[in-house]
Symmetry: C2
Subunit: 464 residues, 2 copies
Amino acid sequence: MRIVIVGGVAAGMSAASRAKRLSPDAEIVVFERGEIISYGACGLPYVLGGAVEDWDDLVARTPDQMRARGIGVRLRHEVTGVDARARTVTVQDRDAGRVTQEPYDRLLVATGVSALRPDWARTDLAGVHVLRDIPDGQAIERSMQGAKRVCIVGAGYIGLELAENLCRQGLSVVLLEKGPDVAGRTLDPEYRRRVREEVERHGVDVRCGVSVGGLTGKNGRVTGLQTSDGLVRADTVIVAVGVRPNVELLRAAGARIGQTGAAAVNARQETNVEGVYAAGDNCQSVHRVTRRRVHIPLGLTANRMGRVAGVNMAGSDATFPGVVGTGIFKVYGLGVARTGLTQTDADELGLDAVSVDVKSTDHAGYYADARPIHVRLTGERGSGRLLGAQLIGENHLSVKRVDVIAAHLHGRGKVHDLFEMDLAYAPPFSGVWDVLLVAADRLSRELKGGRVEAPAKKAAPAVG
Amino acid sequence: MRIVIVGGVAAGMSAASRAKRLSPDAEIVVFERGEIISYGACGLPYVLGGAVEDWDDLVARTPDQMRARGIGVRLRHEVTGVDARARTVTVQDRDAGRVTQEPYDRLLVATGVSALRPDWARTDLAGVHVLRDIPDGQAIERSMQGAKRVCIVGAGYIGLELAENLCRQGLSVVLLEKGPDVAGRTLDPEYRRRVREEVERHGVDVRCGVSVGGLTGKNGRVTGLQTSDGLVRADTVIVAVGVRPNVELLRAAGARIGQTGAAAVNARQETNVEGVYAAGDNCQSVHRVTRRRVHIPLGLTANRMGRVAGVNMAGSDATFPGVVGTGIFKVYGLGVARTGLTQTDADELGLDAVSVDVKSTDHAGYYADARPIHVRLTGERGSGRLLGAQLIGENHLSVKRVDVIAAHLHGRGKVHDLFEMDLAYAPPFSGVWDVLLVAADRLSRELKGGRVEAPAKKAAPAVG
């Protein structure tokens, strides 16, 4: 059996490894358009900021390591076409220029996403970048030498992480965002505001509601952006306005593309085309809370999809369980996490949702190191079901407790059940009632319309 | 209606607050033998170590604050008897010496636990202490002035926390333990060893398998301990060998005491005696994993039981959901957490249990601040059910993710479902596959006996 994989990053290499382990006799060939496989794209901003020492540190496995495990890797080979009936792909060797037809029994298209480049960003001017892969990062690094003023366009996760990391390197940073606030749709307005304050407090010049019309340049290098807010001077511009799934190959093969614009696959990561799988950032998945198809390209999802595809291509059986919309990021001193639905999400879906906001600390309140943590918990009236949570913590690791909510959403749990959980307590870790329990208690009562107990102004004294 | 509460700490004051809120017209009287109510006993070691500034910081509510809310508080009043038929309690005013009969409609016995004092520790020598309440702590503090060498007997949570906190104050600390290792039965041997290494590394003289036979003294002050390991010199001795539930009052009232030695109550915190409730450290509860009765006196449990009792005494309805055996502590740089069953626990219960050990980091491995985190996950063959977890992390907050396991145990979840969860990932928080997911994957395959996939020597490359 010959398994061909297009794309050698998260999903592709997870699939290759898993398929090889389960089916050691299968021939597995990975075609990667670029020069590097198996790297951690989520770490890119942190190399620029210095928290990761070197680009190489992001690489989990080299082509030689994969080859030693019996997995063929062809770098700088681009797959340009699929003939699903003949079960062949057209491959172009980007160096030699040679084009060949390669047969497959099973094909995985793990082509990921590309960074969106608006028309104004399609330019020959030097100093204009996106950040999707290591070469992009290296180009930004080169651009930073001698740079003074960077403008990041787009204040999503990547834009925010970049703002912090470039600011840490002593650059003056302007963060432009077309929408009304930072962090896009991932958080409710109150929580977005807190994130914005944090980046502003550290000297990032954040400007929201600003759209870019064009670039200015001099001697072949960018000098600024023409925006709805006037000219913004910058010697380096990073475009972080979003991504689009790379589905051209799938579409040409006759695979169905979903309404999200990403590939439509079943839980086995199979497309509608016999023998053709898709996995990773180019795929949509099922949201377990809404049961709708969503496109949320994130690292764990890509790895998991790749793994599922690898198991299935090897003839075993695995299914992708769906997502609950968990996301987390750090920006300066803040940890920010969310999972499930925000109140905004729930309102848009027409759900009868209620949220409560609770503030607590990541240590007992009386403990010297206690830092604030804020939680918004959202639930559904009637069903009593938990819908989602947003967390902001001043000790960033404290918001990893979002995973408790993700776990509970996974099983479509109720708010009241969350309140009943035996969560860990000692003074260096939380209040006696963990902030999640306090929030679940309040929300549970709110959902009952205060029937059994009136919501308290202040929490009951809890001592421990 | 008159509600009488015996004991004014965690369970008692939670009950009083809740009952008053739900039933504002009820007369609520709390009899507290000591002089302080509503304090966080779990914080006691941290006042001695300096992480909590003052003893007063541990007090959540003063008697005056409670009285302002319409809750009667009588300090230094000891309840010495119950006439359950007449519905009265005998109360002794410890200052005036006066004894009165006080009527009740509903009675809550929230008398907590007492520190065990072996025969050798019943002494008139100065410098010998236990640590259960603020006066105990203040006595230790006074004893520490001029002290040089402290011996802590008992290496459970409190003994370990004390060792660290006293060592931080510059005292020479010997930690004696009768059992084979520190942290008692809460952890499997491998994990106990790691905890022991950590305290030893910081200069605590840990001696396990050592029993104490008596004390030596001079001029009315302790000078040492006679032990199976010879004489141990010490100018201060703290006895932390465990606790026993204060159930005398309940027993006298005809309430049933469970096999654990703690009060037997139903889920509404009712004893078998009409109108008599019990809540807090003196009660046993149901372990949701084993369905057995256990006595695990901890802060959250006490607060929750008190709350449940308060709701029910006020005429509403609440039930205590049981526990899953979650515990957490910090010792020097380590966070240590456990929930559910250890492998040792499971073996003793005759379960067909398997454990896997996984090491990962609390940030992506390539991140500068990445610190190790170790997880042992235990599951049951056949059922595939998750049984428990033990975590040790070098960034202490990282082990709070034990709550994900506690949440899953709450619903008697399976190991494989844990693996499918959409847990949060970004480089400053975990590896792409959170250590809990890696462990769930390994354990899931182990439970299947490697049927579908052979357990990997090394994790598949995961990049993000």
